[in-house]
């Protein structure tokens, strides 16, 4: 299943359409972080994840843990694109009884490996999955996506230290460095200084990329999988733009957790090429 860069870009575009539709329909949710992460998720799922959409509980699947679980529309859109759930299922986002719960939940949605919602938890869970894979003698990997604001949770660093101590080469983190958190820009809320240096100091393999340049995204995923980087845990720091792809959401803290109105929705569909002007 070879995918060209333009194929991946088209998958990401379709996912963006679904993300905006989901939060617009629900009039709630988190579009900003879903749009910043989606190019990464599209490339990861379409080209790297060893999973079986028709057998979501296959024991030797790679695990994907969306630690920033509020950015669930992004994950649901790629799960639909991959066939874990239907596009019809996306309409259940935030609806009573729906598979698409507000935050991704392993008990509700096929293809979801971790029940998220509280920040700072996914990396530890991923460490558990990676440790189990090692004990099983399996080559399955645990991919964890964390957010930059999330790194303010101390538990992230408990996990970072422990994963390096145990040399978990099958643990791969993607950091969605979109520079905005709930209340404001990260720089305002809590400065994080030299993020690559912090992870290096904790014993991780580190690479930085532009998280919206699909060629760089693929190089970044190559880095995570490279044999020379399987001696211990690795992190891909992806510089992204919150709300990427929708002009009025980009770099706008207001769209961390707010839905577009009808007019804004129409504009988003125009910008994504779903409707003609």
């Amino acid at each position: 299943m070879t995918k060209s860069i333009s194929d991946l870009e088209e998958i990401a575009r379709k996912c963006r359409v679904e993300i905006v539709k989901m939060v617009h329909r629900a009039q709630a949710g988190h579009p900003g972080g879903s749009l910043s992460e989606i190019d990464l998720l599209a490339a990861l799922y379409a080209t790297r994840m060893r999973v079986r959409p028709d057998e979501p509980k296959w024991g030797d699947r790679d695990r994907f843990i969306l630690s920033k679980g509020h950015a669930s529309p992004g994950m649901y859109s790629i799960l639909a694109e991959m066939g874990f759930i239907s596009h019809e299922d996306l309409k259940s986002y935030r609806v009573l009884g729906g598979v698409c719960q507000g935050h991704v939940d392993m008990k509700w949605c096929p293809g979801v490996d971790f029940s998220a919602g509280s920040l700072g938890m996914g990396l530890s869970f991923g460490m558990g999955c990676a440790t189990a894979a090692r004990l099983d003698g399996s080559d399955r990997r645990a991919f964890v996506m964390i957010g930059d604001g999330e790194m303010q949770e101390g538990s992230v660093w408990e996990a970072a230290m422990a994963a390096a101590h145990h040399e978990l080469g099958n643990l791969k983190v993607i950091l969605d460095r979109n520079r905005i958190q709930n209340d404001d820009f990260c720089e305002v809320q809590m400065r994080m200084f030299d993020i690559p240096a912090k992870w290096k100091a904790f014993g991780w393999n580190v690479k930085e990329i532009d998280g919206h340049n699909m060629t760089e995204v693929m190089e970044g995923l190559d880095f995570l999988e490279a044999p020379e980087n399987c001696n211990g845990p690795s992190i891909l720091i992806a510089h992204t733009i919150k709300g990427a792809g929708i002009s009025y959401m980009e770099n706008n803290p207001s769209f961390h957790g707010a839905a577009p109105n009808d007019e804004q929705f129409h504009q988003a569909m125009l910008e994504l090429g779903e409707v003609e002007a």
């Binding site: 509280s118 530890s124 558990g128 440790t131 189990a132 538990s155």
Partner: protein
């Protein structure tokens, strides 16, 4: 002479006994020497995961392993399990992942380390979590037997063990011990004393002193606080007409609350609750702490007479 042992030793022995199950793994947060998981670590280092002094990480590593088919046993001091409460709530209980958490050194009975180490709220807070079984056994035998039953449970659990030695009650009686079933240690028709953990032996002492006054008490070891053995509570409430609960835990939220919650909705009977009187502890010997907190045999007997007077 009664054999004395610490419940934490029963936990450590159980882990060794469970090791034949290759899915059993042990998680530590630098207190394996204290919680007694160290024996497993020595024998099975490949299946023991050190999480450093990081309880929040430890619990979710356990969750990830449970989601991958393993049966994790994580332990630390009872007090430090509390800093990972949200991990237990959102990462373990909510997705119903069978991680088994053991908090040792619980209660004021833990003694001279003082109030910071004397968890008096662990049973209460974990009891509020859906899917979580909560236990506080009274001796090393029952601790071992209950721990051995956990892999078959399929849901998460919290078990408090104690630092200091208490009388062993169940040598040769292993078959009587089952998760969720209280054990009648003594039969009497005047009052029923329902206890857990270190206060079970205190309750037996209280029953002896009451007997000298012509009062015959039933004594129940309610080692499982959740699910509470409601059938047994109904039986003893009907037979005795008055109850006392006894626990080395804040009188708010623990065994007394669990029994009260059942009684008010089912078989009404007066209930006196012996527990830590909503205050923090201090440094002292284990037996001294039971007096300071007014939860020793003497106070249990007083509470029994008060309960009887309210019939």
């Amino acid at each position: 002479m009664t054999r004395m042992a610490a419940t934490r030793d029963g936990y450590g022995q159980a882990l060794l006994d469970l090791a034949g199950n290759e899915k059993v793994v042990v998680l530590e947060a630098d207190l394996g020497k204290s919680t007694k998981s160290l024996h497993f670590r020595k024998a099975y280092p490949d299946r023991t995961i050190s999480c450093g002094i990081g309880e929040q990480n430890m619990l979710l590593v356990g969750a990830g392993m449970a989601a991958s088919g393993y049966i994790p046993f994580a332990s630390t001091f009872a007090i430090f399990t509390e800093r990972a409460f949200e991990q237990m709530r959102n990462g373990i209980a909510r997705p119903n992942l069978a991680v088994h958490l053991c908090g040792s050194h619980g209660g004021t009975h833990t003694g001279t380390d003082g109030s910071s180490a004397q968890s008096i709220e662990d049973l209460g807070i974990f009891r509020t979590l859906p899917n979580v079984v909560v236990m506080h056994p009274c001796d090393d035998v029952s601790t071992r037997v209950l721990t051995m039953q956990l892999p078959a449970l399929g849901t998460p659990s919290y078990m408090r063990t104690a630092r200091n030695k208490t009388p062993v009650l169940y040598d040769g009686r292993e078959d009587e011990i089952k998760i969720g079933k209280g054990i009648v240690l003594k039969e009497g028709n005047d009052v029923a004393i329902v206890a857990c953990g270190v206060l079970v032996s205190e309750s037996l002492k209280a029953a002896e002193s009451l007997k000298a006054e012509g009062i015959h008490a039933t004594v129940v070891d309610m080692h499982t606080l959740k699910p509470i053995d409601g059938e047994l509570i109904d039986t003893i409430a009907t037979r005795c007409g008055a109850l006392v609960t006894a626990e080395d835990h804040n009188v708010i939220g623990g065994l007394g609350s669990a029994v009260a919650e059942h009684l008010v909705a089912n078989t009404f009977a007066p209930l006196e609750m012996v527990g830590v009187p909503d205050r923090f502890g201090e440094s002292g010997q284990a037996d001294e702490m039971l007096e300071v907190m007014q939860i020793s045999a003497h106070y249990i007997a007083l509470a029994a007479k008060k309960a009887i007077s309210r019939k």
